[in-house]
Amino acid sequence: MTIVSTLLPIDIALGVVVCWLLLGLTGLLLQNTALITRYIFPAGALAALLLAAAALSNLGGDSNVAVLALGLPDLPFHLRLDALSAFFLLLLGAASVGISLYSAGYFRDMKGGALGLLCFEYHIFLASMALVFMADDAYLFMVAWETMALSSYFLVTTDHHLAQARRAGFLYLLIAHVGAIAILLSFGVMQGGQGDYTFASMRDAQLNAFWASVTFLLALFGFGAKAGILPLHAWLPEAHPAAPSPISAMMSGIMLKTAIYGILRVSFDLLDAPQWWWGALALTLGLLTALYGVLFAAVQTDMKRLLAYSSIENIGVILTGIGLAIIFHSFQKEALAALALTAALYHAFNHAFMKGLLFLGTGSVLHATGERNLGRLGGLIHRMPKLALLVLVGTLALAGLPPLNGFVSEWLLLQAFLLSPGLPHSYLNMLIPIAAAALALAAALAGYVMVKFYGVIFLGQPRGSDVVGQKPFDEVHDVGIWERIGLTWLALGCILLGVFPVFFILHIDFVSQMLVGHTLGVSAAQTGWLWLTPIQPERASYSPLILFVIIIVGVLFTLYGVKKFYHGRLRRGPAWDCGYPEQTARMQDTAEGFGQPIRQIFQLFFGITREVPGPFDKKPHYHGETSDRLWEWCYLPIARLTDKISALTGKLQHGRIHAYLLYSFVTLLALLAFVR
């Protein structure tokens, strides 16, 4: 009993980390598909649930610290579980429960050896993310951060026999490491020359405005590379589609949030006095990222690439919220800072559930049909009705529609924008309405993207007449029980977070109390748990539960009324379509067709190459490709420059030993001259 009573939440969290490591090792040793899917993944989910519970219990409590005598001599690992860490651990635990349960069903057809390896990497990945959230010194943080990058690299290249997956993995690794260097430098600046790399000493270090700004910019760059903030987003649409779907769900839903955690940790906790232009920069970058992501999502033809671009958009929205919070915080408007921060954190949590759900959904579609290209799908609602219903929840949530969760965070963020007038800076006051407009535009475009995503995959007729993807339409089966449990967990999360926001905001409050010293929940709950009122009830109030109930009552009432006063007679017949009899499935919009208006309107942003058939072509052939302009503007010049420099360096290398001896000799002489 005494052991239990002295068990701190951080011990439980560490226990979960160890448990994950052991599970991974067991999986590696077992190499047995049935055992791994039936026991290891569900056990991992159970551990995740425990982690979520421990984190939830510690959100409001004191911060726990632990020092582990691992690592190098005299350089122990410091760990700390405070409100911010607990919040992100809660996110990790709660979302990975669903993903692990789903994995138990998803990987059932995989070969034992490969699955053992994947199971090992998967659990290492989970454990390293948990350690990133708990690290309290730069050393452990970087070790965990790199473990996370490496384990996810190996997960991305699970299908390493495909050149595309290897290429995607390399790009991911490259950008992750460029980012890691920036993070390391940022920690280096932050410790202020004391040589002590614990976060505690970084909090105490007094940096002047210049060095603080350098730190912030380095951190924004480094964490931005992980989060996919413009222009460092290029790896995301490559790596997410290449990875197996549960891994994509984990990377998009959880791993991107480690970067959000890092930005929050550095700008609010480690650096104490943020400057307003940091916020303006983050806000602008966030909005650009959001708009860019959603525009590219609208023109994608691969369902996982579409979701990857949508993740970029959502990261942009979260960053917008953080930027706004920094602006308010720097002007000591802490109530508003708490509002913006709550919106950002809420959206981060929502996104883990919504995007996890949708990526897992695409996994099931991929499993059932063997196809990722939207142009060969369609009509799956008839063959996979359960999956279609669950994915519909995620689709509506991601489109930001009430009464689901995506809308709540959007609502909070828009409220933060609306309440902002009165900043002592006229440029900012002008920027904010424009930013609100851009955010509203991005949110509306997200609706477009989601209608395309759901409509093309699940609705209509299968686009290859009776074949969907690589399978006959009649042989496509709905998802199995484990997958369904995982998906249902995430879908339930979307609904509950949408309908009962006040309960959750009361928990976020601990984080905003810690970061900006002000909470939202007291005012959010002052008129009862039913009402979300961020400042005062007269200013704004929203009650998702009432809205939800009224729409359902309205639907039932209408249904009842129609049946009661008229009749329910129904006949089936061929589709009408203005009386055109020669309908085929190929006359529906493809993914390209659905994205065409966006391509037309925002032509400027896309690099479009098209081959259009002439009027006399015997075999008419159409090919269109939309590419990322930033790739040619930003990445290719850097790649060419690197090539050029390496070519110049190559000139020094002849492979002749006397030349090298000469180089050494000249260097020695030069050094001697220099030292003397």
Binding site: G378, G379, I381, P385, A388, L392, L396, A399, L401, P402, F407, W411, Q415, L418, P433, I434, A436, A440, L441, A444, G447, Y448, M450, V451, G455, V456, L459, G460, E538, R539, A540, S541, Y542, S543, I546, L547, I550, I552, G554, V555, T558, L559, V562, H567, R569, L570, R571, R572, P574, A575, W576, D577, Y580, M587, Q588, D589, F594, Q596, P597, Q600
Partner: protein, 313 residues
């Protein structure tokens, strides 16, 4: 208790008079085009006729297709009943502020677009695509219009907005003027009116809304038509609430109800006639021009908000 009764009264009122407004607009259009017209009650006759018919569903229509008319009707009914039109003492208005109202319109739009893609006909998907195209520019424009009003009254609650605007002296806000123009453009686009869409034809080159509901028949079609009428009414009442809130009965003032009702009818009569006039004097534009039209509306709305910040009024 009073406020609940008032809410129920408004719920019933909007659902009953919505087709009347549609009939009035159509009748005005007929008069302006030198036709005698079918009378203001024609929409009711249409609805009754449709409800009596047997529904025909396409062979491959899914449950989503069948559920959509009900969801559409319920959400539009909700939208129309939460805008304070005759009294500001509405409990529903507290639960759903302007941002959530825009969200409800978006919900309806997403569902009808998904339903249009469900059967998998060329017209259906084309309509869905065009609807979302109009929607993704109309939605932020509408939101910006609301934001202009919200920054003036420091609240996103419709009740507070209406009370603030109704109490002020008769001042012309330059920001609201911009917002007003943007709002009219959004109203035309969102309710499938000329110049964006033409509710009277099934011409493949131009149709948006009609293309989406081609596969619907009987009671489903009736519910969709009724929902469209409710949506038009909701937009009219939003216009009244934002730009001419005079005559509305405030909290606790039940004696003012008859006056408020009269004021509402006059506003709707004038507004309907104005819409008919606007539709008669403009020409339908090509679909490729629609994004420019909507973009203009969006920019005007943003400009309205910026002007508010610049002039402080």
């Amino acid at each position: 208790m009073n406020s609940l009764l008032l809410q129920l009264f408004q719920d019933t009122l909007v659902v009953l008079i919505a087709p009347l407004l549609l009939g009035w607009v159509n009748q005005c259009r007929a008069w302006l085009q030198n036709r005698s017209g079918a009378g203001v009650l024609q929409p009711y006759r249409n609805l009754i006729k449709l409800f009596h018919k047997d529904a025909v569903l396409a062979n491959n229509a899914s449950p989503l297709f069948r559920a959509t008319p009900y969801i559409l009707f319920a959400s539009m009914w909700l939208a129309a009943s939460l805008v304070p039109v005759i009294a500001t003492d509405l409990p529903l208005s507290q639960a759903v502020d302007v941002i959530a109202l825009v969200g409800i319109f978006a919900l309806a739009r997403v569902f009808i677009s998904l339903a249009a893609m469900d059967v998998g006909t060329s017209f259906g998907t084309m309509g869905a695509r065009r609807e979302m195209l109009v929607g993704f520019l109309a939605e932020p424009a509408l939101l910006m219009v609301f934001f202009t009003a919200a920054t003036i009254s420091h609240s996103t609650s419709l009740v507070t907005i209406v009370e603030t605007l109704a109490h002020k002296q008769f001042v012309i806000y330059p920001s609201l003027a911009f917002a007003g123009i943007a709002f009219v453009m959004v109203l035309l686009a969102e309710n499938a009116r000329i110049p964006v869409d033409n509710p009277a034809t099934h011409l493949e080159l131009t149709m948006i809304h009609e293309a989406m509901i081609l596969e619907y028949s009987a009671r489903h079609l009736a519910l969709i038509e009724w929902a469209s009428a409710l949506k038009l009414l909701a937009y009219f009442t939003i216009g009244c609430a934002l730009f001419m809130p005079w005559g509305i009965a405030e909290v606790g003032n039940l004696a003012a109800l008859p006056v408020a009702l009269l004021a509402l009818f006059i506003k709707l009569l004038l507004g309907g006639a104005g819409l008919a006039l606007l539709e008669t004097v403009t020409a339908k534009m090509r679909i490729f021009r629609v994004p420019e039209f909507m973009g203009t509306a969006f920019l005007l709305a943003v400009l309205g908000m910026l002007i508010h910040f610049l002039l402080g009024s």
